[in-house]
Symmetry: C2
Subunit: 657 residues, 2 copies
């Protein structure tokens, strides 16, 4: 049999060639299902469905047969959904939608005392927020490598950071400082997750409070917060965290140095023009006001030295409860340097070896590659091109860079593979550009659909990227999917990057918020639990709850603070299944799912009381509310748990008071 | 070239055969992307990824190349997520997550005056609900066929019905009646969508109010509400709706007759034992109390006659504002009949020809097929097996049925294809059973993973199903997907049903609520809009808002009721971009996205004020709030809209009062 080229063979020849390849000879699948006769041959399917050879290749690279597991998890921010989406790669199936800043009843997040407590931590100026604008997830790292333990996310709108525990994929903490009024350079972690970085975006008076906008240059400021992470506790420790005051430019993305540049932090900025809009008042709009200068400033922060300064008496101020290194101290101590960045930069990305930094300007056509060694040399030699209006020394641009590579219109963000290549999203022309880090040479482009923001490669922010896969996080989908009204999904395109040329593998519509960034981690680095053990775990503390209920110990107790209902859930009943209270009673439900079988989740609701809980196996939930309406309110299990699930119900009886 | 059987060829032979099938000869894709060289041949990919021939066939039947559109939309309820998930078939990609009972910030649902008004309609006893438990979506029908205009959904926990408009995939109305305290036989529509059916599940005193549970048989009741749909207005008209009182059994699923049985409504029930739990008080749990009788009652309702009776003076009572036909009047007028159903039935499904009804009992092993003709004959002849305790005549079981077919343990729900076959989910053994409607013969089973609840076939509830695809809505996933903590996704399995044997095509994890039911409609039946035209549309009314703002007419006006901000959004600025108010002011934002380009969506937020909006092209949103905290609060566009998106920002300045 000869090696026949498909193009020489033609469609009908191909049909003959492949006709028998998939047919009645298939053996039953090992999963025990009834043996299936495929509906047609490969060639027939290609013809019927209009599939090209590249489509067949892509299909077979992404299809995940029943029971087989994806190789990577991608953690994508949900933008103003306030959620984080977990996507399996290469199948691009959504495995989880972790709610972080936004309540979600199926998960019971924001329903019940435990998760309400987490959300309440995120209050701003004493008010609870019911949503967030998540931009940049950061996986916890050990030695510059993702370790699969935690993921940190930010809320740009309300300047918050959350900790999601990858042992159970649940949000465990939200921290916020009223020092700043928005963030964007968040979250990014240092190589051993000592700190979680949060840089402000839109300047405002530090700590809140009013100042006329005409006093922008004098009274408005940016800041970067270094949140201290306590890995043992799995929580950020605000008391050991500190911040640094920054000029009122708009700080943008950040990244932490690694290997040789470990201990250094890099933050982009734009609007060094300090424009603030006011079009109805005769000012230029921010979009043009902020685009006047040819160069903005990369912020280079010596974190190790800053940490020492922050620990010294008298070197910091407390603002809104946060320890802050003022700008003049930062300058005195040499903690902060600037270097020019071409016009309105967006991405700042440290290369895997820690030696270079890649910056792309939205209004520039290049990726600019800075050498950390050169930057460090200039800092050590105090070789400046002067200082900015706030006294920050500026390093000479040309002496800081290793070179530039022209990529196209609107380059934004860069990721890396395992072969020394870089990949940069090019927003305006809707492409991903592949280029050589060593030679600064453009190697190829892949068209994407459309308006790509960030991109992510497998293990792309670590010291050892994997190559293999890249996801292009496209902001617009336009004509890619069946219509669903004016609000379109995003299009996340999976691209194979192991070959010389990039290969488009899969279009994934994402209609759950708007991912700004994502990180992709090897699936075998995670080892999440299936069951809360022993039964009665409070997910907020991770410990057995003092209110945990055991089978046969269910009871209802009237106490001075109200009626306490100690309830268990198990297929297919709640005990007790009749709860009698009087109108006006405060009710404390303490519900334990006593099951210890995988997937044996129950839900709990009381009709018309807006009470709901998700009870995964072993989980304990407390729910406090006032029985302020008399009547007969059914309660039932909301998760289809068994054949007699509909019978898993009871009555909440509220007698007239 | 001979037709070589793949099993005779062996793996290495196959590799040779296919080595050249996919290779460097691929021509560039028509979409303009750079030509891709597939990473390997089909055979190599099969080997590398462990794909069987059946997997290859399944992959090629489900893969959707970039830019090609899915053939069907599946509308799946989100269970206690309170959402509806729109899934493309055959790719099983999620195209939309329509929020119905639960706020969601990315869509701006529950953020802004318009969508808050919709959610507020769903208040129960004066209190807003922030979630729902959606079970059964029903697409609007014309002549018994899906027409693609609307979809109706229910909230079991709070007895509510919502109307989702498929012109823009937005929830437009929520109705509720305090007559009942939960629902389950909802929503189902009559063949021309004259009525949307909502049957209660857990009995309670009608209209709310307290009665001791010991008075269950006397004072607790079920009911079915016939919500009148006004198609021209696209809204349910509560004033033209009516209900019928039912005995305190637990009414379950419902279906409407079609063709010959049009005008008749069928509702399952269980717990004709009238057990109500009370295990701590010495009673049996509901799960066993409700499983004593060998037969429960199918409710057969003559809707056309009921409609006439409801229109007569003195034949109805007003309860909680709803016109109700009391049980004694229903009996007098012959509106309601019962017939026995084997042990704890779940599904009740009218066949496409309207002639038969299929019922499956959770604790029975059969599908029981009733003949509508026989039932009608018995009703006309008044041939009864006596009456129940509430005076409802009971038709003789054996004279009502056409036969039974043994399917396995725990059959639940039945769907149909275009070849006279029925498919029934079998919960306990985790299979889908295919059987012949004509012969009542089992034809085959497909293993599913795991615990299938409902199933859905293409156009499966219409008078002319399509065949082709079936989705098995599996409640448990257990070992199918990469681990994501104790709360697992569901597994929706796509099954090809055009061949003699069913073929498992795709495993789709669904971690967004828990679908109970779904309907699948041909994609070309829908024609949703892309853009709200003209700019300034209030999505709640569908009309141009009185507050719509045009470019160059932006302004800020102080009026007696507060500060009115007339704002436009367009790439890349808001006008005005500085808003000055005083602490304590009521602020009325009126924001119009003046863009008319597909996908040109903007978002709007004011930091720390919990204010958010999604502004699709042409949409107008009003937001009312009190500026109760002084300070400087950035506002910005939350949807990545353009290269200068980050510059689409402004300041909300709250001066001390």
């Amino acid at each position: 049999m000869s090696f026949t080229r498909i193009d020489a063979l033609g469609a009908s020849g191909l049909a003959v060639l492949l006709a028998a390849a998939v047919g009645v000879g298939c053996s039953p699948r090992p999963t025990g299902q009834v043996s299936s006769t495929p509906a047609g041959s490969i060639a027939n399917l290609m013809k019927e469905r209009g599939l090209s050879e590249a489509d067949v290749s892509a299909a077979l690279q992404t299809y995940m047969p029943t029971g087989k597991k994806d190789e990577y998890y991608t953690f994508a921010s949900g933008g103003h959904g306030g959620n984080m989406i977990v996507i399996g790669v290469p199948s691009m199936r959504i495995l989880k939608d972790v709610r972080v800043f936004t309540p979600e009843p199926w998960q019971g997040y924001g329903y019940g005392d435990q998760s309400n407590q987490i959300l309440k931590q995120g209050s701003r100026f004493g008010k609870e927020m019911t949503w967030g604008d998540m931009h940049h997830p950061a996986l916890s790292e050990t030695g510059g490598d993702y370790d699969g333990e935690f993921v940190f996310v930010n809320d740009k709108a309300n300047a918050r950071i959350a900790v999601v525990d990858l042992h159970d994929f649940v949000t465990k903490q939200i921290v916020t400082s009223e020092l700043i009024q928005s963030d964007h350079g968040a979250t990014f972690v240092t190589p051993n997750t000592e700190y979680v970085i949060e840089a402000s975006q839109y300047p405002a008076p530090l700590g809140g409070g009013y100042a006329p906008i005409e006093d922008y240059k004098d009274k408005y400021r940016g800041a970067v917060i270094f949140w201290k992470f306590d890995r043992e506790k799995g929580r950020i420790d605000p008391d050991r965290s500190f911040a640094m005051e920054l000029p009122p430019y708009m700080q943008d993305l950040a990244d932490a140095g690694k290997l040789g540049s470990e201990g250094w932090i890099f933050i982009n900025s734009f609007n060094t023009e300090m424009s603030y809009g006011g079009t109805l008042e005769g000012n230029p709009p921010l979009e043009s006001g902020a685009s006047q200068n040819d160069m903005d400033y990369m912020h280079i922060i010596d974190l190790k030295s800053a940490e020492k300064v922050a620990a010294e008496e008298g070197k910091t101020k407390k603002i809104a409860g946060m320890k802050v290194i003022p700008l003049d101290i930062a300058n005195e101590e040499g903690l902060l340097h600037f270097v020019g960045e071409p016009k309105s930069p967006h991405g700042i990305c440290v290369t895997p070896d820690g030696k270079d930094l890649v910056v792309s300007g939205k209004l520039d056509t290049h990726a600019t590659v800075y050498s950390f060694e050169k930057i460090k040399g200039l800092i050590d030699a105090k070789k400046y091109d002067g200082k900015d209006a706030y006294g920050v020394p500026i390093l000479p641009f040309k002496d800081s860079i290793r070179g530039q590579v022209e990529l196209g219109l609107g380059p934004l963000h860069t990721q890396f593979d395992n072969k020394g290549n870089a990949y940069t999203s090019v927003f305006i022309e809707s492409t991903v550009a592949k280029w050589s880090l060593k030679d600064l040479k453009l190697l190829g482009k892949q068209k994407v659909h459309y308006n790509v923001g960030h991109i992510v490669t497998a293990e792309g922010d670590t010291v050892s990227p994997d190559g293999r896969y890249l996801i292009s996080i496209n902001k617009w989908a336009i004509d890619r999917f069946a219509k669903v009204g004016p609000l379109l999904p995003q299009n996340l395109q999976l691209i194979g990057i192991d070959g010389e040329q990039m290969q488009l593998l899969y279009d994934m519509p994402l209609p759950l918020g708007e991912p700004h960034y994502a990180q992709m981690i090897k699936a075998d680095k995670l080892d999440p639990i299936d069951i809360y053990k022993p039964a009665g775990i409070d997910v907020f503390t991770g410990e057995k709850s003092e209110f945990a209920v055991k089978a046969k110990e269910e009871r209802i107790e009237r106490k001075p603070d109200g009626v306490h209902v100690y309830m268990t859930a198990v297929r297919s009943h709640f005990t007790p299944d009749i709860v009698r209270v009087k109108k006006g009673d405060t009710v404390h439900l303490h519900i334990t799912n006593v099951e210890q079988a995988i997937d044996a989740t129950h839900g709990f609701t009381i009709g018309s009381y807006n009470v709901h809980a998700s009870l995964e196996p072993g989980k304990h939930v407390d729910i406090t509310f006032v029985a302020d309406r008399e009547g007969i309110f059914p309660f039932y299990c909301t998760e289809f748990c068994s054949a007699l699930h509909l019978e898993m119900a009871g009555y909440f009886l509220v007698e007239p008071g």
